[in-house]
């Protein structure tokens, strides 16, 4: 795949733009319960696996980056932009993919749904149409452009969801269990795309430890705390041992 690197504005002093995710003393309370606490970590790697048991806080971590929950304490910066102070800008830099493909489709047909991502971006009708066609061709959905989105297979729906995210050329993709509801073949297709083909930085929340092993770094959460950050191999090995 030959997608150019998404353009990230250079800093005024000419230093190369940061591609780091930076967390400083971050905590999240939801309805009076602390679901994430004291997260301090800097992640410059391209592929970041996030693992941990259910309720460990790993999904909250992803939702934080996707702008779906706000930090109650601390500071989050995505490629140098503050998540709270520059929320609009950060939301445009981050694309989120979830497990349920049905719940990510907003417009009735494939092409309309992909085009939905480009609304309010000040693009002409022609430019939107051109980008939609190019994106659908790249991800093998061109033939289904005018098909009702719900008529796609599960794997194609997830491909559509991913296309609708990638068309905006985000700098960071946050994928929360993107293959959980897919069969083996589609799961391999989507994970190959995320891990090997796109140039964007990727935060991949997953229970699939084989996927985690293919990332550049693994982050493990337990009980709402950051448990450890290291190369995937040792983190996964310890996690397997703890699971018994």
């Amino acid at each position: 795949m030959t997608t150019p690197l998404p353009s990230i504005p250079a800093s005024p002093d000419g230093t190369p733009p940061s591609r780091e995710l930076a967390f400083e003393g971050v905590g999240v309370d939801l309805a009076g319960v602390t679901v994430l606490r004291d997260v301090t970590v800097t992640l410059p790697q391209r592929r970041i696996a996030v693992i941990g048991s259910n309720g460990s806080g790993k999904s909250t971590f992803a939702r934080l980056l996707g702008g779906l929950v706000a930090p109650s304490r601390g500071r989050v910066a995505v490629h140098g932009h503050d998540l709270v102070a520059e929320r609009k800008q950060v939301l445009r830099m981050v694309g989120s993919v979830f497990s349920n493909p049905d719940a990510q489709i907003i417009m009735p047909t494939v092409a309309e749904d992909v085009a939905f991502s480009l609304r309010r971006r000040g693009l002409t009708r022609e430019e939107v149409a051109r980008r939609v066609t190019a994106t659908l061709e790249r991800y093998g959905l061109a033939e289904r452009a005018d098909a009702p989105a719900h008529s796609l297979s599960g794997g194609q729906k997830q491909l559509l969801a991913l296309s609708a995210v990638l068309i905006t050329e985000p700098a960071l993709i946050v994928a929360d269990e993107p293959t959980a509801l897919l069969d083996g073949r589609n799961s391999r297709l989507i994970s190959a795309l995320l891990l090997d083909e796109i140039p964007q930085q990727l935060v991949l929340v997953t229970h699939d430890l084989e996927l985690a092993a293919r990332c550049d770094v693994a982050v493990r959460f337990e009980d709402g705390r950051l448990f450890e950050v290291d190369d995937p191999a040792p983190v996964i090995a310890r996690y397997r041992r703890d699971l018994g």
């Binding site: 939301l91 349920n100 049905d102 719940a103 489709i105 907003i106 719900h150 609708a164």
Partner: protein, 198 residues
Amino acid sequence: MIALYRPGTSPLHRLPAGPKLIALMLLAIAITVFASNAWYIAGASALVVAGYFAAGFGPLEILRQLWTLRWIVAVTLITQVIFLPLPVAATNTGRVVTVVMLATLVTLTTRTSALLDAVERGLGPLRRIGVDPARVGLVMAMTITVVPVIAGYAASIRDAQRARGAKPRLRILVMPLLVMSLKHADELGDALVARGAE
């Protein structure tokens, strides 16, 4: 979802959707208010039939549309006959059928997307009271997307209950349907936020 629109190239098909809807409403009210004797109604229904022919629909299509109105005819006629003399009841029923057939002609000759646009434009003046037509359009499109998903939930709930030998009843069907659907709504809300629709 199959829309009721029938493609065609007649002058009626080519009329813009907004004016067509407005003309329909005015005509429908005029016929309803003023057509009080059989002659007027005969004239109005002749015009409507002419409209069907002009739009390229044959007698068969007219009969098919009339057949879909059979219950309206039956209920209107029966309730009228109880209270009014037969000729008056027949006149009134004829007028109702004429008006509904006229409206159906608009539906048959206008693309759903054109009507959607017309509705969005028609809502423009409501901006002053805080209605955003673009948002209404978005919610309408989302509803079209979601109907098959919710229908799928309903079917799977029915199947699951049948598999357990339970007789599907309205209440035990709708309760889980609401829970699944509203969870879906929350996820959809996440997707809207994530995709920058805030």
